[in-house]
Amino acid sequence: MKVPIAYFLTLSAVLFSIGTVGVLVRRNALVMFMSIELQLNAVNLSLVAFSRQLGNLNGQVLAFFSMVVAAAEVVVGLAIIVSIFRKRTTINVDDEDLLKW
């Protein structure tokens, strides 16, 4: 039995919205990070769904790319968060306004 594409897209949209709201409302940098991850994976899901629907592998390849980029981003982002925490003993983003004059 073939699952209709609408199911996938609905799930993807729900995940993306949860991620967006998470980025906007949470102050903890780690949680914001996880929310961004959620958004990325929501998009990955829709990419794979479209790929299956259209019988074209491009979407799946693109999903792999996005996973690799996400992994790299996590490495850099976590390093920044760790060094900020060492310096200031907090990862609350509302306290981080160093670049503002």
């Binding site: 967006t20 980025v23 906007l24 409302v25 102050r27 914001m32 983003v93 509302d94 981080e96 306004d97 160093l98 670049l99 503002k100 004059w101």
Partner: protein, 620 residues
């Protein structure tokens, strides 16, 4: 040797460079380099003169193209030197008299703190002066013209610790600049109407005849404006008496023999551009200055200021002659004047040297006994300028007076005769006050060293015998210069030649007798006591300086104040500062966008995404 004409200005330039760079290390030896370089230039000039004389009169022009200087549009300017009869005469005077004055400076400047720098400046001046007279186009001439002005400024203010010297140098520079402004405008007009600065293209006679009389009058009067500034003619003469604050060799070289005659040279060089109207102006200005400065000289007690007024007056004579079209006569006067005026300045410097810097003649007197050589040489110069034959001054002045008479300019002739009378009078006054009578001070005067008296002696010999250049009916020098200057017209009217000569000589003798009567005794003190205002009027040069100080100077200051405080700080600075304030104000608003809150940025980002999606949705 004409091929090596470029060496003539190059040698003094090299001397100036060496003395400027290594002067401190050379010390006293810099006093050798300066004179040797100018002497070398003189030798080369002299050899080049024989080359030139070896050619037929019409072909006595040699143009040396050194290099292409610059091209801009239709303007082609080369670094070209021109050796013809006129420039050859000038470089011989500049290097010859200049060499003697350089040698004299060894003694006069001996022990000065800035001894090497003095010779560097003096060499630099000679370089620029030679560039001026050797130029083949107006641009090179202008470089020399401004260069001699710069050196004049540097040398007048050589003893810049003295406020009077510093002020005098500024006054000379700025006053000359007024004339130079006219000169630049004249040069621009030459380029507009002739399309070239080259003498061969501008001064060949055909080019000028294609232009309207009005244009030519304007161009020639603008050029003459430059000459007025440089040669210190009315109304820009005020800087020359003050310029006497400089060392005396400078007064002799720059403010008597060479630089101030650059204006006369310019008029003679560009005479084809002068229309009858502008020649009348030249003649009028020259005559006015000759007469005015002669009266001013009578009132001077400062020996150098008297000579400065005398120089003004003699330059006026040269312009008077040039204004009557007698360019050869003007040039002869220039040459003779270079000799006798340089001699008189050097002798005056010798007096100052012997009197420990005293320049006030009322404190001298009886110096004949203490400085016999200087006194004798000065008197040779004095008799020369007074116009007693057979010394050169007579041959310089008499043709001018006789030309004025024979060409039917009766009033001008009378005024010029009056100036000649005053010339003899003030010179004799100087001699009687300084060298005759009883000493009026206890100061011990001493004769100057040989290094000073020998150059003076040579100049005196030159002043005495230069008359041979004018002794034949048409004049040796005038004939030499004829391809450049042409001949003045023939005149038949007026008094016979012998009568004019007799009048000249009688006037001079009468003036000398009158000066002897008044100044060889103490009668002048009584006279001054009875008419103090006459003396004050003459000593202050008819209060010309005061008139400028009360009219032009406040007006200039007022305009400068508006320009500086109204326009510059108000308008120009206002624009610049206003732009700065505007940027700051906009930044104060703009920086509120940067909250530093990560979540705000994310929200704005999201909002932007929605907007983009909305736009895409609407458009599809």
């Amino acid at each position: 040797m004409l091929k090596y004409i470029w060496l003539v200005p190059a040698l003094p330039l090299a001397g100036a460079a060496v003395n400027l760079v290594f002067g401190k290390r050379l010390g006293k030896r810099s006093g050798i380099i300066g004179p040797v370089m100018v002497g070398g230039s003189f030798v080369i000039s002299f050899l080049a003169l024989f080359d030139l004389l070896g050619r037929p009169a019409e072909e006595r022009v040699y143009v040396a193209h050194l290099w292409d200087w610059f091209h801009a549009g239709a303007l082609d300017v080369g670094a070209d030197l021109r050796a013809d009869a006129l420039s050859m005469t000038m470089i011989l005077v500049v290097t010859g008299v200049g060499f003697l004055i350089h040698v004299y400076s060894i003694g006069y400047m001996h022990g000065d703190r800035l001894y090497p720098r003095f010779f560097a400046y003096l060499n630099l001046f000679v370089f620029f002066m030679l560039t001026l007279v050797l130029a083949q186009n107006f641009v090179v001439l202008f470089i020399g013209w401004e260069g001699v002005g710069l050196c004049s400024y540097l040398l007048i203010g050589f003893w810049f610790e003295k406020p009077a010297a510093a002020n005098a140098s500024k006054k000379a520079f700025i006053t000359t600049r007024v004339g130079d402004t006219f000169f630049i405008v004249g040069l621009a007009m030459i380029f507009v109407y002739f399309g070239s600065f080259d003498f061969d293209k501008v001064l060949n006679g055909h080019a000028a005849s294609a232009l309207s009389v009005g244009t030519l009058t304007a161009i020639s009067l603008l050029l003459f404006g430059g000459a007025i500034g440089k040669s210190a003619q009315i109304p820009l003469h005020v800087w020359l008496p003050d310029a006497m604050e400089g060392p005396t060799p400078v007064s002799a070289l720059i403010h008597a023999a060479t630089m101030v005659t650059a204006g006369v040279y310019l008029v003679v060089r560009t005479h084809v551009l002068f229309t009858p109207t502008s020649l009348a102006v030249v003649m009028f200005i020259g005559l006015a200055t000759a007469l005015y400065a002669a009266t001013g000289a009578v009132g001077q007690d400062d020996i150098k200021r008297l000579l400065a007024y005398s120089t003004l007056s003699q330059l006026g004579y040269m312009f008077f002659a040039a204004g009557m079209g007698a360019y050869g006569v003007a040039m002869f006067m220039l040459v003779a004047h270079a000799f006798y005026k340089a001699l008189m300045f050097l002798a005056a410097g010798s007096v100052m040297h012997g009197m420990e810097g005293e320049t006030d003649m009322t404190k001298m007197g009886g110096l004949k006994k203490y400085m016999p050589v200087t006194a004798t040489l000065f008197m040779i110069g004095a008799i020369t300028i007074a116009g007693i034959p057979p010394l050169s001054g007579f041959f310089a002045k008499d043709p001018i007076l006789s030309l004025a008479n024979r060409s039917g300019r009766g009033l001008a002739w009378l005024l010029a005769d009056a100036a000649a009378f005053l010339t003899a009078f003030y010179t004799a006054r100087l001699v009687f006050l300084t060298f005759f009578g009883e000493p009026r001070t206890e100061r011990p005067a001493h004769e100057s060293p040989k290094v000073m008296t020998v150059p003076m002696g040579l100049l005196a010999a030159g002043a005495a015998v230069a008359g041979v250049l004018a002794i034949t009916p048409e004049g040796v020098l005038a004939k030499f210069l004829e391809p450049v200057t042409g001949l003045p017209g023939e005149f038949v009217g007026g008094l016979p030649e012998w009568a004019l000569m007799a009048i000249s000589v009688l006037l001079a003798l009468g003036a000398i007798w009158l000066a002897w009567y008044v100044y060889a005794s103490t009668r002048w003190r009584a006279l001054r006591g009875r008419y103090p205002y006459v003396h004050d009027l003459l000593e202050n040069g008819w209060y010309w300086d005061a008139a400028y100080a009360n009219t032009i100077v406040p007006a200039g200051k007022w305009v400068a104040g508006i320009a500086a405080f109204g326009f510059d700080t108000g308008f120009i600075d206002g624009i610049v500062n206003g732009l700065g304030s505007l940027t700051k104000g906009l930044a104060a608003i703009g920086r509120r966008l940067q909250t530093g809150m990560v979540r705000t940025y994310a929200a704005v980002f999201l909002f932007g995404v929605f907007v983009v999606l909305l736009v895409l949705a609407v458009r599809s």
